[in-house]
């Protein structure tokens, strides 16, 4: 209990002192996870819409792959990306290993299936006859897609929450491909691991509380948006 209280007080102190080392870690965490989320959303939302709306050959297999992807073990993703990006690997020429770019790649792999899966489910939940109704009201195909996306906005926001939550708090893969290098690839989760190993429980707890605060703030913002956008809530 003492360590927890000490950690909490230290967290408050660190936050309000705007400790440069801490700010650097927070900034890198938000940049890596924010960028990964953005790229995943750009790729995942259209993919989720197509899977939710269209029937085609091989769809069942694709959906099974997406569902499998939603439960990918982060360390396995980290290991795979490590092998791909290592000097002898097929993508070794990129020299991305132990850089934030590699961390973004692993986080995209982890969040993309979540965003696709949740978006697909949200879109598919709309009544099957709705696209026909919208077409009959004069909507173009593009307008139909945007209307369905707007109708499924709660589910789409949930997809983004799930995607962000999975990667901001993830440690296994970023540790493997980033290496937890100070001033370069150290993020909140890897810093927590390091401080715990060092026996600096108060500092580890402080970082954990900051991580929780970030996750809570992001979720609260999205829930607030959901409430504003959806008259049913």
């Amino acid at each position: 209990m003492g360590a927890f209280l000490e950690g909490f007080l230290q967290a408050i102190q660190l936050i309000f002192s705007l400790d440069p080392g801490l700010m650097e870690i927070v900034r890198l965490s938000l940049t890596v996870s924010g960028l990964a989320l953005l790229i995943s959303a750009i790729m995942g939302l259209p993919a989720g819409i197509i899977l939710g709306l269209k029937d085609f050959r091989g769809k069942r297999l694709l959906v099974a792959i997406v569902y499998t992807g939603m439960g990918l073990p982060p360390v396995v993703v980290g290991l795979t990306v490590y092998i791909l990006l290592s000097r002898q690997g097929p993508l070794g020429g990129l020299a991305w290993l132990f850089t934030p770019k590699a961390m973004v790649v692993t986080q995209i792999i982890l969040s993309l299936p979540l965003i696709i899966g949740f978006t697909m489910t949200a879109i598919a939940a709309a009544p099957a006859a709705l696209p026909m109704q919208l077409r009959s009201l004069g909507a173009t195909q593009r307008q139909i897609v945007f209307t369905l996306l707007y109708e499924a906005r709660s589910g789409v926001l949930a997809a983004l929450v799930a995607g962000f939550g999975a990667i901001i708090s993830e440690v296994g893969s970023v540790m493997i491909v980033g290496g937890n290098i100070e001033h370069k690839t150290r993020v909140l989760t890897t810093a927590i691991v390091l401080e715990t190993r060092r026996g600096e429980f108060a500092m580890a707890l402080a970082l954990g509380i900051i991580l929780l605060a970030i996750t809570f703030s992001a979720n609260w913002l999205i829930l607030h948006l959901q409430g504003r956008l959806d008259p049913r809530q």
């Binding site: 009544p127 006859a129 109704q133 077409r135 009959s136 009201l137 004069g138 109708e151 008259p231 049913r232």
Partner: protein, 243 residues
């Protein structure tokens, strides 16, 4: 083709898989008429409406609109936007009543439709609920919003698929009055699909009986109800058609 025809179906055959669900050698819809299609459930009435609204492509045959044959893919958006369907299930968007009624106008890029939205809602006597969330409406109110959403577009062709199924007499009366006004005051050509022969009798200028995917008889409303030619029409009108 007769000049007095707005929509024409020629040699239509429509299949779902191997099953033929509709076979219509010829059908003409005249401008500014209310044409009712009656028949038992599963006879092909809704399918006919979807083909007329170019929401589905017939397996065989042609649908002509203003004397030209189109398919759902070739029909220009300007022509598509001159027709609309009110479906049996009023699928409203998760938004206010007014935003639902505004939908068709918004997709057309018409931003200043407040007066016409109000007028359409007044026609279905729901102007007082304009700002209410659509999901809070009763079934009858939702169907009236669905009708207002179509009326606001001033469609040249208005298709109605069982618009009063499962509604109470008060809502039925309101909706029928709106349909009549759409035809008489807005000049809409109305194709009404219903299994309610009394509704067809109250509203339609011409009536067709569709049974097992085929049109059995077409006549003016008076002839259809007073002098039916086909024994199946007589049986349907007396409630004796077994299906």
């Amino acid at each position: 083709m007769n000049a007095d025809v707005i929509l024409r179906l020629e040699a239509i055959e429509h299949r779902y898989g191997a099953r033929v669900v509709l076979r219509v050698p010829e059908l003409n819809i005249r401008p500014r008429e209310i044409f009712a299609v009656v028949g038992p459930s599963g006879a092909g009435k809704s399918t006919l409406l979807r083909l007329m609204n170019f929401l589905e492509k017939p397996t065989r045959g042609r649908v002509l609109y203003h004397k030209r044959a189109w398919t759902p893919n070739t029909l220009p958006i300007e022509l598509r936007r001159r027709m609309t369907t009110v479906f049996q299930q009023p699928l409203l968007l998760n938004a206010s009543v007014a935003r639902n009624v505004a939908y068709g106008l918004r997709v057309r890029g018409a931003c200043n439709g407040k007066a016409s939205i109000r007028r359409a809602l007044e026609e279905v006597r729901l102007a007082h609920l304009a700002e209410q969330a659509a999901h809070t409406l009763s079934g009858g109110e939702a169907q009236r919003v669905s009708l207002a959403r179509a009326l606001v577009l001033n469609p040249e062709l208005l298709f109605l698929d069982e618009p009063t199924a499962n509604l109470d007499p008060g809502n039925v009366k309101l909706i029928e009055e709106s349909i009549r006004r759409a035809n008489e005051e807005r000049g809409a050509t109305v194709v009404l699909v219903t299994h309610n022969v009394w509704q067809a009798r109250r509203l339609a200028h011409r009536v067709a009986l569709i049974y097992d995917g085929e049109i059995i008889e077409i006549a003016s409303a008076r002839d259809f109800f007073e002098h039916p030619q086909d024994p199946r029409t007589r049986a349907f009108l007396t409630g004796d058609l077994v299906y």
